[in-house]
Amino acid sequence: MFRSLRPKTAPEITLSINGHDIIATAGQSVWSAMALNGQTVTRRAALSGEDRSAYCTMGVCFECMVEIDGVPNQQACMRQVSDGMKVSTQNITESSEATNAGL
């Protein structure tokens, strides 16, 4: 289980992770906000659909790709949280279908 040793002095912000509102600290990485709130599944593997989670947290493994504000393939370890941000587990696999066009 992950926990934070950060003293509660920094300003707090609110973001949403997989639909849950979460309080985080400004400057924190999206990955740490996820992990500290028990949301450790970042993406689903492209073929098997198996759960994946952050591995290197320094930008070289691309396991922590999540959707941020509707944009997929965002590295949770490289992005910082911001107020009102919406983060969700990335679910794009080989069998994903696009929802019908917003014509």
């Binding site: 289980m1 920094a10 500290l36 198996e50 989670s53 320094m58």
Partner: protein
């Protein structure tokens, strides 16, 4: 388009020390780095640690603060949070910065891409909960985040350092599972006399190990046959030592077996590379001043060959001196005079480095996947069996294998599987890694959104800009 005498990519110790040197000599310097603050991986958040007391991280870390101060005082154009996605050997860099797609031009380019951890493809290494020891460090430094009751497994100084840091912070550690084989101690012992000239470094290492031993956490040595347990998440680590099989329950398993240069920048620039036999990895070919096969492109720090943070400071400075000479700001004699102490220092450090390399050289059993069902390519989920099948269908080159199996085609662009594939092909073809080669890499350096690319407008024709300089 902005123009600089020198653009440096990467603000770790090498990039920072080079930038300071160049700026202090009056050169126009740009530094591009993905981090919001300079420091690289080693000095991450050193200027504003989220920890109540950053001293637990040790004096090697806190010493970075001085470098950051010097960096902030020098006249350097620092693009913080800049993501350089194309480095051209025409001196052009395309990068994303503050939501814009930007372009700069430089006479000299210095790439300092740093190191990444050598992947450890044991069964179950893709399960959630399996991370690298470097990840434990990054999470601690940038987010003051720890995992209670984790297992640390592998070999090498970084592994022992993070365990010691956890212990100092009072974070429970389930076990340290050391995979350094007996033979490595014997082989390294032969190199000890020369390495002993640097007693302070050796002492530092021994102190760490003693600290771990004193703590009383379980330490298993000479571990083999590692396997992460769990179906959907890591639930523990299994291994064998002294003929006995152990299972240690943990929801986080941190793996480590040394670091290797992060090759994608230097490879995408098509610079000449060589296989480092001692460190079992590819690295860019440079002269003692970091100059690569493309003369106006230099490389320094661990991204140009693993030498550690102290070495990176020096190689960064040496690269800067040579660049100043190439810019006409230093005579050759003056470059050599100023470089002499650093070059001597590098020479003095080499035996200890060689000792460490030998002692912690990863075993083939951990460096290369052993079970047919183990994933080699995490992104495209290609197993050892898939790769072997591709090889048997005639794909004998890393790029041919990539085209046939998609191994290395995913978002990490081969960063994780590149060395493994080279190692496997070397074994299967019974040829040296030099003959096997590596993936052909290209820009972009990482996933680039279509929007970011769309925003790029070649506002000023580069040819004119270059001619105007």
């Amino acid at each position: 388009m902005q123009a600089f005498d020198c653009a440096i990519v990467g603000a770790g110790p090498a990039g920072m020390s080079a930038a300071i040197e160049l700026a202090n000599a009056g050169a126009r310097v740009a530094v591009l780095d993905r981090g919001q603050k300079p420091g690289g991986q080693i000095y991450r958040s050193v200027s504003e640690s989220p920890l109540p007391d950053a001293n637990v991280l040790g004096p090697d870390y806190t010493a970075g603060a001085e470098l950051l101060t010097a960096f902030s005082r020098a006249d350097i154009t620092h693009f913080a949070g800049a993501d350089a996605w194309h480095l051209g050997d025409d001196g052009r860099i395309l990068f994303s910065h503050l939501g814009e797609t930007c372009e700069l031009h430089c006479r000299e380019m210095l790439v300092c891409p740093g190191a990444m951890e050598r992947p450890m493809p044991i069964p179950g290494w893709t399960l959630p909960g399996v991370m690298t020891a470097g990840a434990a460090q990054v999470m601690l430094k940038s987010d003051a985040m720890v995992s209670d009751g984790a297992v640390f497994a592998g070999s090498g100084p970084l592994l022992y350092l993070i365990v010691a840091q956890y212990l100092r912070l009072g974070v429970p550690v389930a076990a340290l599972v050391d995979t350094t084989p007996r033979q490595n101690y014997l082989n390294a012992a032969l190199m000890l006399p020369r390495a002993l000239r640097r007693t302070e470094l050796l002492k530092k290492g021994l102190t760490l190990l003693a600290e771990i031993k004193r703590s009383g956490i379980p330490v298993y040595r000479f571990a083999e046959g590692l396997k992460v347990l769990g179906e959907e998440n890591a639930t523990g680590l299994q291994f064998t030592t002294k003929g006995q099989t152990h299972e240690i329950a943990a929801d986080t398993v941190f793996l480590h077996q040394g670091v290797q240069p992060n090759l994608n920048m230097t490879r995408a620039m098509d610079l000449e590379h060589r296989w480092n036999l001692k460190q079992l990895c590819w690295q860019v070919v440079t002269d003692p001043f970091g100059q690569t096969s493309v003369p106006h492109v230099s490389a320094a720090g661990d991204g140009a060959g693993i030498f550690g943070a102290d070495g990176a400071l020096i190689t960064g400075r040496l690269a800067a001196l040579n660049i100043l000479h190439r810019l006409g700001r230093l005579t050759l004699a003056e470059r050599d005079r100023q470089a002499a102490p650093d070059l001597a220092q590098i020479t003095a450090m080499a035996p200890f480095r060689a000792f460490i390399d030998r002692l912690y050289r990863p075993t083939d059993a951990l460096r290369l996947p052993q079970e047919l069902s183990t994933l080699v390519c995490r992104c495209e989920e290609q197993t050892l069996a898939d790769l072997r099948a591709g090889f048997d269908r005639g794909a004998r080159d890393p790029n041919a294998l990539k085209s046939l199996t998609r191994c290395g085609m995913g978002p990490c662009q081969g960063r994780q599987c590149g060395h493994m594939v080279a190692g496997l092909l070397s074994e299967w073809r019974d040829e040296r890694p030099e003959t096997i080669g590596y993936y052909r890499l290209r820009s972009p350096q990482r996933l680039l959104t279509l929007k970011e690319l769309s925003r790029y407008q070649a506002a000023s024709a580069p040819a004119q800009t270059e001619a105007a300089q």
